[in-house]
């Protein structure tokens, strides 16, 4: 061993230790496990049916065939109806945007009122809201359906929007309450001494300060509502079915031949909006998860 006679000097010789090698091997195989499904989805959507039937789920498509995407968007069949996921996409937009905007605003007001004004019964309400978040939707469904039917909201766009707002309240209220608690109370006291009232303090001081939380809350609500299946299925009605429900109807339809390329294209289309949000603003997304998870 000539190494032993060398006087150690300077940096430790860079040896790629077994542990380091194993670490990267683990990370790379995990990355494969997580990314291969996305890869398979994309290549499948670009293949033709004969190509798919020839086997080789991992193989690259022979040509760039976008016809499956076109069919998925505007021609794929759910049962006897062949209109693609297009209508579902626009339904989801029409459901998600107002539901996100209203629930985030209400959540911001709730959090503001709860953490600064502390009205009587506020803690009780917050506790009930948090407890309600733990209750499975199935417990609420039937009574809600009946009440909505009485109020002509059942199977309507305002109905499904309202349902999403109702069930979104716990999360947004939690996010904003926890956020406003971190803002020094001196600020609130100072603005009250300056004579500002409830809404003025909210609109001119608190809301501008909570832009980061507005973004996080809007993102969490957006992905949550866009990805919803159960509520859309029950409350939206045939005319307003969100994209997830339509996608499931198309893929799990029992009539006709199974067009795997179209199914995968439709699946990607449905996942696209949340994925874009995630990839563009991953840091905010992570922050939202962390903020939402830290329940009192």
């Amino acid at each position: 061993m000539s190494v032993a006679s060398v006087t150690p000097r300077g940096p430790k010789p860079g040896r790629l230790t077994l542990g380091r090698f194993g670490l990267y091997a683990f990370l790379i195989s995990a990355a494969l496990f997580f990314s291969v499904p996305l890869y398979v989805m994309i290549v499948t959507s670009l293949k033709t049916m004969p190509e798919i039937r020839a086997g080789g789920i991992f193989s690259l498509p022979q040509g760039l065939d976008l016809s499956a995407w076109k069919t998925a968007w505007s021609g794929a069949c759910a049962g006897t109806e062949c209109a693609g996921v297009q209508a579902g996409f626009w339904n989801s937009v029409r459901i998600t945007l107002p539901a996100v905007a209203i629930s985030v605003l209400v959540g911001a007001v709730n959090g503001y009122a709860l953490s600064f004004w502390r009205p009587r019964g506020g803690t009780l309400m917050f506790g009930l809201l948090m407890a309600g978040a733990l209750v499975p939707y199935q417990v609420f469904l039937y009574p809600l359906v009946r009440w909505f039917a009485t109020g002509h909201l059942y199977n309507s766009l305002p109905g499904i929007v309202l349902v999403h707002i109702l069930f979104g309240l716990p999360l947004v209220t939690l996010l904003f309450r926890n956020y406003f608690v971190t803002i020094p109370e001196e600020l609130f006291k100072a603005s009250r001494l300056d004579g500002a009232g409830f809404w003025r303090i909210f609109a001119e001081i608190m809301l501008p300060m909570s832009v980061p939380m507005l973004v996080v809350a809007a993102m969490m609500q957006f992905t949550g509502i866009w990805n919803d299946f159960l509520l859309g299925l029950v409350f939206a009605g045939r005319e307003n079915l969100p994209m997830t429900v339509q996608l499931n109807n198309i893929v799990n339809t029992t009539t006709g031949e199974r067009l795997y390329n179209v199914n995968m294209a439709a699946t990607i289309l449905t996942a696209l909006v949340p994925l874009v949000i995630y990839f563009v603003s991953g840091r905010w997304f992570v922050r939202g998860i962390a903020a939402g998870a830290v329940k009192g």
């Binding site: 006087t7 150690p8 000097r9 300077g10 940096p11 430790k12 010789p13």
Partner: protein, 356 residues
């Protein structure tokens, strides 16, 4: 005599930023060396390099006659105490003390004996079954010291161990560390930004700035004969007073001239050279001067009575200086003041900042 710790031509760089370069240190057995400097001066980096917690770019580290440059921290024969105590929060004091030994595979009886002995030395015996969260800051730091103690090593490293404590506890623990050093006779390397800790604990102080050791000497030497302007200004509170002027040759000797001040340099402990220079003198080396000798003339601006002594701030030719007097003083703001300088205790620095 063989050094306990020696650092040779050490260089540390992160990417292309060089943090430390050409560091050479010889630390004698049983010596208490303090690395002193402001934050970011590289003192903690140097300590971590000795501990093996930082990758070095060049140089060697020897501990107790062994080249440990490539050795793992645990194989270097060191114990270390951290600023945040770094106790394992979910383990009792006893487990904290014994964890390293248990992993190293020592027999249970031996672990228990060492833990008990350390606990006794540090007055931790009644606390052995508590968790860190149930201890005060001072107790936690004693546990951290105990964890270094049970390793039965010859070299202890301290990384700002008292910075997280309040002033009173800091004073108490400082005395305990000094006692511990006297009892154990270990070599200790101690990083701090607190000059009182440095002055009271150290056999020698290494003052660092921008990754360079400015002066390595005994506390008294550093206080009375600072190697350069930086060291002179860093040590001492209130800080040393400075006056910029010229050294001129006069007869067989020299004189320092600045504005109305003309000071004969006979008796100065050093080698003055003609040219631009800075005169430095500590507040306690100024005396109110009643006679007609050379003196700084000024007006009192603020008087700070501190009990044992009084600090008088006065302005002289637009500059503020301080003067320390024993006991109380009759001086009041706006009083005129003439202060004579004890030239045997003053310091002169040349244009490049080094002491003449």
């Amino acid at each position: 005599m063989q050094s306990a710790v020696s650092v040779k031509d050490l260089k540390i760089a992160y990417g292309s930023t060089v943090v430390l370069q050409n560091i050479n240190l010889e630390i004698a057995p049983r010596e208490f060396l303090v690395l002193l400097g402001a934050s970011g001066c590289g003192k903690s980096t140097l300590l971590n390099a000795i501990a093996g917690l930082t990758d070095i770019a060049d140089g060697e580290v020897w501990i107790e006659g062994r080249n440990v440059t490539w050795a793992e921290p645990k194989d270097r024969g060191i114990g270390m105490v951290f600023q945040s105590y770094a106790l394992y929060p979910r383990m009792s004091v006893r487990k904290n003390l014994g964890f390293g030994l248990r992993v190293a595979g020592l027999p249970k009886a031996e672990i228990a004996a060492r833990a008990n002995r350390a606990a006794e030395m540090l007055h931790l015996t009644p606390l052995l079954d508590r968790r860190p969260a149930e201890l005060s800051g001072g107790q936690r730091q004693r546990v951290a010291i105990g964890r270094a103690l049970v390793r039965q090593v010859d070299v202890f490293l301290f990384d700002e161990p008292l910075s997280n404590l309040d002033a009173k506890l800091r004073n108490e623990l400082r005395v305990e560390i000094k006692k511990l050093h006297q009892d154990l006779g270990n070599t200790m390397i101690y990083v701090t930004h607190d000059q009182v800790e440095a002055m009271t604990l150290a056999d020698r102080i290494a003052i660092m700035k921008d990754g360079v050791i400015q002066q390595l000497a005994a506390p008294a030497e550093i206080y009375h004969r600072p190697a350069n302007l930086f060291v002179a200004g860093f040590i001492g509170a209130p800080a040393m007073n400075f006056i910029e002027g010229q050294i001129v040759a006069r007869g067989a000797g020299h004189a320092f001239v600045a504005g109305g001040l003309d000071l004969d340099l006979a008796g100065y402990q050093g080698a003055p050279l003609p040219g631009p220079a800075t005169l430095g003198f500590r507040p306690e080396h100024l005396m109110p001067e009643a006679g007609g000798g050379p003196a700084i003339e000024g007006t009192v601006s603020v008087v700070e009575p501190m009990g044992a002594d009084t600090v008088v701030w006065f302005s002289h030719e637009g500059q503020s200086h301080s003067l320390r007097l024993m006991g109380d003083t009759g001086l009041r703001p706006r009083d005129p003041l003439r202060a004579g300088i004890d030239i045997t205790r003053a310091n002169l620095f040349g244009a490049d900042g080094t002491r003449l």
